[in-house]
C-alpha cells in the first residue's frame, strides 16, 4: 500500500503519468516471473519472452 501511495504521489508530483503503463507492465511481468519461477507454467512464460 505504501508503495502504491508513493508511486501515485511521485507520478502526480512529476506529472509523469505516461510512465504509469510502463511501470505497471514491468511490475506485472516481474510479478509473473516471480510467481511462476519453479512452477509448471514457467517454460511457457519464458518462451513468451
Amino acid at each position: 500500500m505504501d508503495f502504491l501511495l508513493d508511486l501515485w504521489g511521485f507520478l502526480k508530483e512529476r506529472k509523469k503519468f505516461w510512465l504509469l503503463p510502463l511501470i505497471v507492465t514491468l511490475l506485472l511481468i516481474g510479478g509473473l516471473f516471480l510467481l511462476t519461477s519453479g512452477s509448471a507454467i514457467a517454460p511457457f512464460i519464458y518462451s513468451m519472452f
Partner: protein, 619 residues
C-alpha cells in the same frame, strides 16, 4: 526528548550511516570498515548499530531515518533514458529491471525491514534528493554564514551538477545539469579507459596525470580532441557530452572502446599492465579539461550568488588538484569542502537536510573550525580492547603511561627510517585517513615513497603520498595560505625546497622520474612538485599534533608522510584486530595503538601476506 535523525546512504556504492542529535553530528561511519568489503553498498547495518551505540540510543529513539536520495526519481531517469535511446540498451535494460522490480522500487519496505533489524520499530522515512543531500553536507557543517554551493558527481537521480546558494537555514538551487551530461562520468570514462576501476580508480588517474608531459604534441592534440569530439563546453561551464562515444547511459561499460581507439589511437589499457607515457598524457589531458570545467562552473556560481565563500561536495570535489587550482584563482575568499564528499557523505547531508530544511531549525556557525569535528566521527577503542587483541595474538608490547614519552620515542623511530602504523582515537569518516588510522613515515627519506608503495601498501609505484603538516608550519613547506584539514587541497612545494630537474627529465622512464630527488621532503613531493596537504591542528587532533611536534623537535621538520592504514583493496582498518593483522602482513616496522607500542621483530604470530592480499579484490 532530543530530536534524532539517522542518515543512510546505501545500495549504490560506499554505504554509510550518520547520527544527528539536536542538530549535532554525533557519529558517522562507512559500512565497508565493519564488513571489510571495499565500497560495500549494502544497507549499513553495522554502521547504523555503531552510530546508535555511540549516542547511547536505540532505533526506537530515532525520529526519522533519512535516505540520501529519491528512488522513484532515479527510476524515472532510468526509464526515460532507456526510452530515449531505444532500441539501444536492451541488454542493459533487461539486466537492470529485475533488481528494480524486485528490490529498489520497494525501497521503503526494504529500509523498514533493515531498520527493524536494529531492534525496534522502524522510524518515519524521509527521502531528500541526492544532490540536495550533497549540498546540505557541504553547506550546513561549513564555517560560513552564507555560501555559494557547487556539487558535482557522477549522477544522482537526474542531476550531475548543481549550483546553489546557502543562506541561514535555507538552500536555494539555482542551476542544475542533468544526466547523461556528467563531469564525474566523463572522468570515470577516462579512468576506465586507462585501465583503472570505475568508482575507485579516479584517484589513481588524478595521481597519474602529473606524469603526463604538458609540452608534448600528444597531450595537446588529445586535449583538443576532448574539447572538439567528446565534450562541448559553454562559457558558463555547462556542457554536453557527445554520447556517440559513451556507453554508460544504456550499456554495461563506460565508453565505446572502438570509437575511443579510433579517436586517440591507443587501445583501452588492460588493468595491471605497464603504464606507457601515452596513458599518462591522456590522464593529463582529461585532468586539464576537468579543471577547466570546474573553474568555469565556479565562475558561474560566483556570478549567480555573489558570495565570497564556496562550499563543495560530490565525488568530483575529491579532485584535490582541481580544488587547489580553484583556490589559487582567488575567485572566492575561502573554500570549504565536505571531507566525505562522495556518496558516503550523503548520509551526513541527509540528516542536515532533515534538521534545517524539513524541521526548519535555525543554523548556527559557532563550531570551530567547522561542524565535522575533524571528520573523527567513527568508533574508538579502549586500552582494554587493545590489550585483548594483544592477548589473542600473544603479542608482546611496550606500554606508555606518558603519551609525550611515546611520541618522543615514535618520532625517533620514524626519523631512523621506520614505518609506523598509527591507531588512535575515533576512526575517520570519509575516504582519507587523517592521523587516527594512518601509516606514517619520514618525508625526508628518498626511499620512503618506494618502500611504502611496494612493500607496505602493495600498490602501484607511481602513486604519491600526502604530507601531514603542523597547521602553524604550512607556509614553511607549501604555497598555501590556509589550513587544509581534510587533505582536499593540492598545493605546490615551496621553490626554496625544490631540487633542480635534469635537462632530459621529460624523456626519462616513469621510474627514473619518480625516484629523482625533487625536494628536501621527497616522499611527499609529487612529480610536478605538488603535495596533497593535510594540516594538523592541535585543537582538532592533539595526539597526532604532538607526534609531529616531537618529530619536529628531533629533526626540524614539522611534517610526516601520512597514508591510510590499509593495503591495496582493503578498507581502512577499523578495530585493533584489523590493525594488528594489517601490521603483521606488511613490512611495517612498528604499530602504535593508544599507548601500546608493538615492535615487528618481537612478534610471535606469523601472518601470511598473500593471505591478507587474497582477501581483498584489487581496487
Amino acid at each position: 526528548m532530543p530530536t534524532v535523525f539517522l542518515g543512510i546512504s546505501a545500495y549504490y556504492h560506499d554505504s554509510a550511516a550518520a547520527l544527528m542529535v539536536d542538530g549535532d553530528i554525533i557519529a558517522a561511519a562507512h559500512e565497508e570498515r565493519f564488513t571489510r568489503k571495499k565500497h560495500d553498498s549494502s544497507f549499513p547495518l553495522n554502521a547504523a548499530k555503531y552510530v546508535l551505540r555511540e549516542a547511547g540510543l536505540s532505533v526506537s529513539d530515532v525520529n526519522a531515518a533519512v535516505f540520501y536520495d529519491k528512488p522513484f526519481l532515479k527510476f524515472e531517469r532510468l526509464l526515460e533514458t532507456y526510452h530515449g535511446f531505444a532500441p539501444k540498451g536492451l541488454v542493459s535494460f533487461l539486466s537492470a529491471m529485475p533488481v528494480w522490480m524486485k528490490e529498489k522500487l520497494f525501497l521503503r519496505k526494504m529500509l523498514k525491514n533493515e531498520l527493524e533489524k536494529l531492534g525496534g520499530k522502524a522510524p518515519k522515512l524521509l527521502f531528500p534528493e541526492h544532490h540536495l543531500s550533497h549540498a546540505a553536507s557541504a553547506y550546513f557543517p561549513s564555517p560560513f554564514k552564507e555560501a555559494a554551493i557547487l556539487t558535482i558527481d557522477g549522477v544522482g537521480e537526474w542531476a550531475t551538477t548543481i549550483i546553489g546558494h546557502g543562506r541561514g537555514n535555507e538552500i536555494k538551487i539555482l542551476r542544475q545539469l542533468d544526466f547523461p551530461h556528467s563531469l564525474g562520468l566523463l572522468y570515470s570514462a577516462f579512468t576506465y579507459y586507462c585501465g583503472f576501476k570505475v568508482n575507485s580508480g579516479e584517484y589513481k588517474l588524478m595521481g597519474l596525470a602529473p606524469y603526463g608531459n604538458p609540452n608534448s604534441e600528444q597531450t595537446k592534440k588529445w586535449t583538443e580532441l576532448i574539447y572538439n569530439e567528446l565534450v562541448d563546453i559553454r562559457e558558463d561551464g555547462s556542457f554536453l557530452l557527445n554520447m556517440d562515444y559513451f556507453n554508460y547511459a544504456v550499456g554495461l561499460t563506460m565508453c565505446r572502446d572502438k570509437k575511443w581507439e579510433q579517436l586517440f589511437g591507443i587501445p583501452k589499457r588492460q588493468p595491471e599492465t605497464k603504464l606507457s607515457q601515452s596513458y599518462m598524457n591522456l590522464a593529463l589531458a582529461i585532468q586539464n579539461v576537468t579543471e577547466d570545467i570546474v573553474l568555469r562552473l565556479a565562475q558561474t556560481t560566483k556570478q549567480l550568488t555573489g558570495s565570497d565563500y564556496l562550499v563543495m561536495a560530490g565525488g568530483v570535489a575529491l579532485n584535490c588538484v582541481a580544488n587547489g587550482k580553484l583556490l589559487r584563482t582567488r575567485l572566492f575568499r575561502d573554500i570549504w569542502i565536505q571531507p566525505a564528499a562522495g556518496d558516503a557523505g550523503g548520509a551526513v547531508g541527509a540528516v542536515y537536510a532533515a534538521w534545517h530544511l524539513w524541521k526548519g531549525h535555525p543554523r548556527e556557525t559557532n563550531c570551530k573550525p567547522d561542524a565535522m569535528k575533524g571528520a573523527y566521527l567513527g568508533p574508538e577503542f579502549s586500552g582494554k580492547e587493545i590489550r585483548r587483541t594483544a592477548n589473542r595474538y600473544n603479542a608482546p608490547f611496550k606500554y606508555y603511561d606518558d603519551f609525550n614519552m611515546l611520541c618522543a620515542d615514535v618520532a625517533e623511530l620514524i626519523a631512523k627510517g621506520n614505518v609506523i602504523g598509527w591507531f588512535q582515537g575515533r576512526m575517520e569518516y570519509g575516504p582519507r585517513a587523517l592521523g587516527n588510522r594512518s601509516i606514517l613515515g619520514d618525508p625526508r627519506d628518498p626511499q620512503m615513497q618506494k618502500r611504502m608503495n611496494l612493500k607496505i601498501k602493495y600498490r602501484e609505484g607511481f602513486r604519491p603520498f600526502a604530507p601531514a603538516v603542523m597547521e602553524e608550519d604550512i607556509a614553511q613547506y607549501f604555497d598555501l595560505d590556509r589550513p587544509s584539514p581534510y587533505m582536499l587541497l593540492v598545493a605546490p612545494v615551496l621553490e626554496n625546497r625544490r631540487k633542480p630537474l635534469p635537462k632530459n627529465y621529460e624523456s626519462l622512464d616513469l621510474l627514473d622520474r619518480l625516484y629523482h630527488l625533487r625536494s628536501d621532503i621527497p616522499a611527499v613531493t609529487h612529480i610536478d612538485y605538488s603535495a596533497r596537504v593535510q594540516s594538523v591542528s592541535r585543537n582538532t587532533n592533539e595526539r597526532f599534533w604532538n607526534l609531529i611536534s616531537a618529530f619536529k623537535k628531533l629533526t626540524g621538520f614539522g611534517l610526516l608522510v601520512n597514508t591510510s592504514f590499509n593495503v591495496r583493496g582493503e578498507p581502512i582498518v577499523c578495530t585493533p584486530d584489523d590493525a594488528y593483522r594489517c601490521f603483521m602482513s606488511t613490512e611495517m616496522d612498528y604499530l602504535v595503538m593508544n599507548g601500546f607500542l608493538f615492535k615487528k621483530e618481537e612478534q610471535n604470530w606469523k601472518f601470511d601476506k598473500q593471505d591478507l592480499l587474497s582477501r581483498y579484490e584489487l581496487d
